[in-house]
């Protein structure tokens, strides 16, 4: 504390003196004035006969500008008081060192809590539905993490595989009457196949170019689903998708239903709870496979590919198959999640697979800390759960949410859990600081 307290004294007066603070505050106020003069200063509305009427709100505008001015001064004073280093660099490093013990106890606690959610919130359908939604995104995040976090390949069209999985299940189940448990692996395999198909043309692309092609791929899949009317039903989607059975026993209010067989009273909550544990199991499977893969040669090759592709080739690693397996593995998990989505909804349409979903899943991976399993789970909880939490703010929900994301990225630029845990060790397990780990170039 003593060290950070002296920081303002040692920095030049130009960056902390009253003149600097005043200048910055005036500048901020000016920007606010320009920005809000039309947004707040003038209010327009359509009149009763359709004409445009407007009135001015200069009082509100002035109040806002003054608030920004005062706020800027306060922020600068606070920075000077606490020291710059504490806000920008000290915070992440202190959290990073404690993160190991933190995650050791936190992850099992989180898992136990998740297992108990249906017991605790048995009567609250809303919480259970939200839990299923969060877990779906946890699974998608973990799946995309293989591609983006481990192999370092920026994929903006991940929702395409989610869609392939969902439509695979929907079509197989409605056309061939196959059961959910047969369709689930099939959906995964089909999505993996599409992952390889996407992988081939983008093998030579890197960075922004790769991102654009994957983005286009996601759109192509969506547009095909939208326009291939006689197979996919076009914008009407596919309805009447069979609900999952409890390993062959239907969860319905009939004589051969699960409730009747167990001799308990039927309740629709049973199906919700079954779905909850189903997606939890699928997500944990994704997690388990990913953790195993990381410790296998293929996983190390993915991470090496993220670090340096040229060195990989010099070491005799086939970068083509390595990239394709990353795409295929990520796509497979996306496809399985898609199949789950289809059976949960009972109805799917191309609307559910817009670019926004891809962006959301990517945001979860980036916010969580690329490559970190726990980080991705927490980010999914924060993004999906947080979005619900901010419902109280009504129309300001997006604003608060956006602000929270910006703040998080300022404080923890490499995500919630930015450090990397080595896959193997000789003496002692260590963590590797996020500054050394590369984000990948592709």
């Amino acid at each position: 504390m003593a060290r950070t307290f002296h920081v303002p004294l040692s920095t030049p007066a130009a960056t902390s003196g009253p003149a600097f603070i005043l200048k910055k505050a005036i500048l901020s106020a000016l920007v606010a004035l320009i920005l809000f003069s039309l947004m707040i200063g003038i209010r327009t509305e359509a009149g009763p006969e359709g004409q445009l009427i407007f009135w001015t709100r200069f009082g509100d505008l002035a109040m806002l500008v003054v608030t920004v001015f005062a706020g800027s001064i306060l922020v600068e004073l606070a920075r000077g008081w606490f020291g710059r280093s504490r806000l920008s660099s000290h915070l992440p490093s202190s959290l990073g060192s404690g993160a190991k013990t933190f995650s050791r106890f936190f992850a099992p606690a989180l898992l136990i809590f998740t297992l108990l959610v249906p017991v605790i919130f048995y009567d609250q359908r809303y919480v259970l539905d939200l839990g299923i939604l969060v877990l779906t995104y946890v699974m998608l995040g973990w799946g995309l993490n293989v591609v983006v976090g481990l192999a370092g390949l920026l994929d903006l069209g991940y929702v395409a595989f989610y869609a392939v999985g969902a439509y695979s299940y929907a079509l197989l189940a409605t056309t061939f009457d196959l059961s959910f448990w047969i369709c689930l692996p099939l959906a995964g395999i089909l999505a993996a196949f599409w992952g390889v198909l996407l992988g081939f043309p983008v093998l030579r692309l890197r960075g922004d170019y790769l991102a654009i092609v994957t983005l286009a791929f996601g759109e192509i899949i969506r547009l095909v689903l939208l326009n291939w009317q006689h197979v996919t039903g076009g914008p009407n989607g596919i309805s009447g998708i069979p609900r999952p059975s409890f390993f062959g026993i239907p969860l319905t209010n009939t004589d051969d239903g699960l409730a009747a067989r167990l001799g308990i009273e039927f309740s629709t909550t049973h199906r919700i709870i079954f779905l909850f544990y189903l997606i939890l199991a699928l997500a944990l499977l994704t997690n388990w496979v990913t953790i195993r893969l990381r410790r296998l040669p293929i996983g190390r090759a993915w991470e090496a590919l993220r670090e340096d592709e040229v060195a990989c080739r010099a070491l005799g690693i086939n970068t083509t198959t390595t990239k394709l397996t990353a795409f295929a593995t990520g796509a497979m998990f996306g496809g399985i999640a898609g199949a789950f989505f289809a059976t949960r909804q009972g109805f799917i349409s191309p609307e559910s697979f817009s670019f926004q979903e891809s962006a959301l899943v990517l945001a979860i991976v980036v916010l969580g800390g690329m490559g970190s399993q726990l980080g991705v789970a927490l980010a999914a909880l924060a993004m999906i759960g947080g979005f619900e939490l901010f419902r109280g703010f009504e129309q300001f929900r997006m604003l608060v949410f956006g602000l929270a994301m910006v703040m998080l990225m300022i404080w923890r630029p490499r995500g919630l859990i930015g450090h990397r845990a080595p896959t193997v060790f000789l003496e002692k397990p260590t963590t590797i600081s996020s500054t050394l780990v590369k984000e990948g170039h592709g």
Binding site: V310, C312, A314, G316, V424, F425, K428, T430, L436
Partner: protein, 277 residues
């Protein structure tokens, strides 16, 4: 060519548009020996390296690599990663290319990717954890431990490669190349940026690689103390053309080589040499 040649480069040319980086180069490297490739800046040494290790496809010429068991490969026809995987040619880079965010140990395990991949049944057997894979991984870790011990970094095994000192990173890159059990090890300026003591340690390491392992070494280096101290044969390039080759002693006294390094013609070089006591 003699039977104990590991690398045979014949009539190798590499053109980039109108620029001839390497012109009709013919040389060979002996098995179990250290061959150095030297020359002034821009002589085309790294281009030759990139042709041998598959990063460039040569415009013309043939690069033949022969293993000890008589199996031979035409490197210019092999697809990039196969040069390392099947022909067993490993290389290091002028600007270090370690996996900075992975530990030293992980770097050495990535180098053993292909045998480990096979042992893991192309991931499927490894995923269920068959004992054969666990044994193979244990052997891979032992090999990594051996090399970490050799380069004196066993204490730093669990530290990120990017956190190591510059000289340590250079040695780790050599160890990583050696973990792929190469027949030919190509080193691109391994002594660049090292101090005198570190260079000496590097020379010892390279000599021990030559003596204790079935690995021949091809070396690009500017540090003449290293080159003259450890090389068995030296090939001198200038403007993409071989101007001399021979033992370190012969090269040291070759006026053509000195002329190339001074940027002067041969007669001036002779005059300079005669002036010296």
């Amino acid at each position: 060519m003699s039977a104990d040649c590991i690398l045979d480069v014949t009539h190798l040319s590499m053109r980039f548009g109108g620029i001839v980086a390497v012109n009709d180069l013919t040389f060979s490297a002996d098995r179990g020996k250290i061959t150095a490739l030297i020359g002034p800046n821009g002589a085309g040494k790294t281009t030759v390296f990139n042709c041998i290790t598959g990063f460039y496809k040569p415009t013309t010429g043939m690069i033949r690599l022969t293993h000890g068991n008589g199996r031979s490969f035409l490197l210019e026809r092999l697809f990039d990663y196969r040069i390392s995987k099947t022909a067993k040619v490993a290389r290091t880079f002028q600007n270090i290319r370690l996996f900075a965010g992975m530990t030293a140990l992980e770097n050495l395990l990535v180098a053993q990717h292909n045998p480990l991949m096979k042992a893991s049944g192309f991931t499927f057997l490894g995923l269920v954890g068959v004992p054969a894979f666990r044994h193979a991984e244990q052997r891979a870790i032992e090999r990594a431990r051996y090399w970490l011990d050799r380069i004196g970094l066993i204490e730093r095994a669990d530290d990120a490669a990017g956190n190591l000192a510059y000289g340590d990173q250079r040695r780790l890159e050599i160890a990583r190349a050696m973990c792929s059990e190469p027949a030919l090890l190509c080193l691109d300026e391994p002594a660049a940026g090292l101090n005198a003591r570190e260079s000496e340690a590097l020379s010892e390491l390279l000599l021990s690689i030559r003596n204790d392992h079935e690995t021949s070494v091809l070396l690009i280096e500017h540090d003449m103390a290293v080159v003259m101290g450890i090389s068995d044969t030296i090939v001198v390039l200038d403007y993409g053309v071989k101007i001399a080759s021979g033992t370190p002693r012969a090269i040291r006294d070759d006026p053509k080589v000195i002329a190339a390094y001074l940027g002067a013609d041969e007669n001036t070089a002779r005059a300079v040499m005669e002036q010296q006591p």
